[in-house]
Amino acid sequence: MAAKKRSIWVFGDYRNYFQNRVTLQLISRANDLARAIGAEVCVTVFGHGVDEWVWEYSCHGAHKIYVCDHESLKFYSNDVYIALMEKLVREHEPEILLIGATAFGREFAPRLAKRLGTGLTADCIGLDIGEDGLLVQTAPAFGGNMLTKIVTPVKRPQMATVRPGTFQEIPHDNDAKAEVVHVPLPDDLPKDRITLISSVRQPARGQKLEDAAVVVCGGRGMGSRKKFRNLYELARILGGEVGATRPVVYSKWADEEALVGQADKHIKPKVLISFGISGAIQHTAGIKDAGFIIAVNKNPNAVMMKMADVAIVADASQVCTALIKELKKRIRS
């Protein structure tokens, strides 16, 4: 009998598709990993009326798609999807199974991993194949101050959830064709123990801060409410948004809306300028996905300064004022 082809699986999380592109991003990374270990990329799609997503995944790099399309699968369900996925995984034995770290994924993945008796790493920001062919999962810890490299040496599949925005999707290719395998609905699927009474799509609240490419963040080091307010001017000039730390919001220098941190808003700007922030875990957990970081602080040893690409040792408010002045000069021209 021919040996089963090795496979890397991606769970098709199509809810909120168009804004939510994590599945496409995972398919892309799975392709990189698959090349390294000689495997094919398979995607699972469970639901009702899912042809559109099957087509999208096909055009974005999937080699094979397992589809289970049935009325009873219309709404996401842990009990049902886990049972279904368990059947498929035990039958096809993928090497790796990737799930997007959406709210659903972050609940579905751990229960599934426990059901399968395998290891799971949450919120990965990196996936690579190590020298011994193992999936090396890079995940943050301690509010992003630390990074850990984790492997699942023995148990299979090696599972990981990945934050949206971590990887780049493969561009849409109309000519790409994946093999579609229709999976009939098993007749022994459990009943959902949780009843969905209602599910109402929330209007996309201004995610301005979370989506901003440029964020100017301020902390107590700005000195006073009056000086803090200058950050809004700086943000306006840069076309960005203002974020704040909890102490600043508490002192009413900024609104609750601006709160960036572990339990609050997570931002992922391309450029983050941090003024007068020491770098407490509660705050840094919200900025760990930032790109280029400039930090301004009187204390050269502050954690925020160590995390930055450019650490400016000076009075935060003075630098803010100087920046505004210089930007106005240059942009006017």
Binding site: S224, Y250, K298, N299
Partner: protein
């Protein structure tokens, strides 16, 4: 006494600190600036037994040990000296005398409402002519058919503006030679009892310190605490207990000033280096840390003696004397380390400096504390 904090005391410190930083932290500066008593925070403190810390359970208190009490006062004072003052005076000299010298009827009548914080306590000895010298008290309490009529003015009463059941130290039998003093519980609303203007003080400004006026104020005989002539005994005992609280308060204020100094010295750069790298600053910080630790241990030693049922007057006086001296020294040095910024009202350091000074004055000046200690050591057998 064990020198490492036990788990309970660690947890007490964490819990009170969390409350103080969250609820008093954001307003500490403002209430000092505006001399405003934060009734809204007092309301929250009530549910946490802050007003009945050592009151027995059956009267609605927490029945806490003295070190837990000292830690609570220290942690509140670390954020707001004025509120730490309110809580310690209420607990130590406002309720404790009633518990120690009151009849069961008096305890049932007054303590539960005080322990819950619904009523705020105070103790009034000081008058225009009676500060360190209690015998200079002129407020009189003359007996008549079924009570006593009180006349006089008490000044500098901590919690004066909000107290509901102050204890009044008055001279009974003022015309007889060998005047004796007694203590009376006077309830707010009693005709003849009025509260004066809130004092405009250098520090502790969020505490409503005021004068209390008594003009033919009649109190029933059921409101006499202890017996006629017990005044001095009750007063001195109340002060012993109060001194532990003031010691804890001084430690808290010093701690706040010290933490601010360490942080500032790491950030402030002069001559291209943080000032914490200069030996003179390091020496000052080292002395601060050592003295605050010593003061704290003296306070806990007094707590230990009190809870052990021993005499603790000397220990309490030593704790209060040393802690208040340290608080003044540490806060003065803190302002110095902060330089010009330390002198600005925009920073907290000058508030710590102003608050610290009075700890050397009230509940027995440092001079009186030395008298108490000297008297004690000179009467000890060699």
């Amino acid at each position: 006494m064990v020198f490492n904090a036990c788990m309970k005391h660690k947890l007490v410190r964490k819990s009170v600190r969390e409350f103080a930083e969250a609820e008093l932290g954001p307003i500490a500066h403002e209430i000092d600036r505006e001399a405003r008593f934060p009734a809204e925070v007092v309301q929250k403190m009530r549910g946490l037994n802050f007003f009945g810390l050592q009151v027995p359970k059956r009267y609605g208190g927490a029945e806490a040990d003295s070190i837990s009490y000292a830690i609570t006062i220290e942690e509140i004072s670390r954020v707001s000296g004025a509120m730490g003052l309110c809580v310690t005076v209420h607990n130590s000299v406002g309720i404790y005398p009633i518990l120690k010298y009151g009849t069961e009827e008096q305890k049932e009548r007054f303590v539960p409402k005080l322990a819950s914080g619904e009523h705020i306590g105070a103790f009034c000895i000081t008058e225009a002519n009676a500060g360190s010298d209690a015998s200079g008290v002129e407020t009189s309490a003359v007996a008549d058919r079924d009570g006593y009529v009180i006349n006089g003015t008490k000044i500098f009463v901590t919690n004066g503006g909000v107290c509901t059941t102050p204890l009044i130290f008055a001279i009974t039998d003022p015309d007889k030679p060998g005047r004796s003093a007694s203590v009376f519980i006077v309830e707010k609303g009693t005709p003849g009892f009025t509260v004066g203007e809130i004092e405009d003080l250098c520090g502790m400004r969020a505490n409503p310190v005021s004068s209390l006026f008594f003009e033919d104020c009649r109190v029933p005989k059921e409101n006499l605490l202890g017996k006629i002539g017990d005044g001095l005994k009750i007063g001195l005992n109340a002060l012993d207990t109060g001194r532990i609280g003031i010691g804890a308060q001084a430690v808290g204020i010093a701690q706040a000033a010290y933490e601010a100094s360490v942080k500032y010295s790491k950030e402030r750069q002069q001559f291209k280096k943080p000032i914490s790298s200069f030996q003179s600053v390091q020496n000052t910080l080292a002395d601060m840390a050592t003295e605050i630790d010593a003061a704290r241990l003296l306070v806990y030693r007094a707590c230990d003696a009190k809870d052990g049922g021993k005499e603790f007057g000397k220990e309490a006086a030593m704790a209060k004397l040393y802690a208040s001296t340290v608080a003044s020294r540490v806060t003065g040095n803190a302002v110095q380390i902060h330089g010009g910024y330390g002198y600005s009202r925009e920073y907290d350091v000058e508030r710590f400096f102003r608050d610290a000074k009075v700890t050397e004055i009230y509940e027995g000046t440092s001079e009186i504390q030395r008298m108490v200690i000297a008297r004690s050591i000179l009467s000890e057998p060699i």
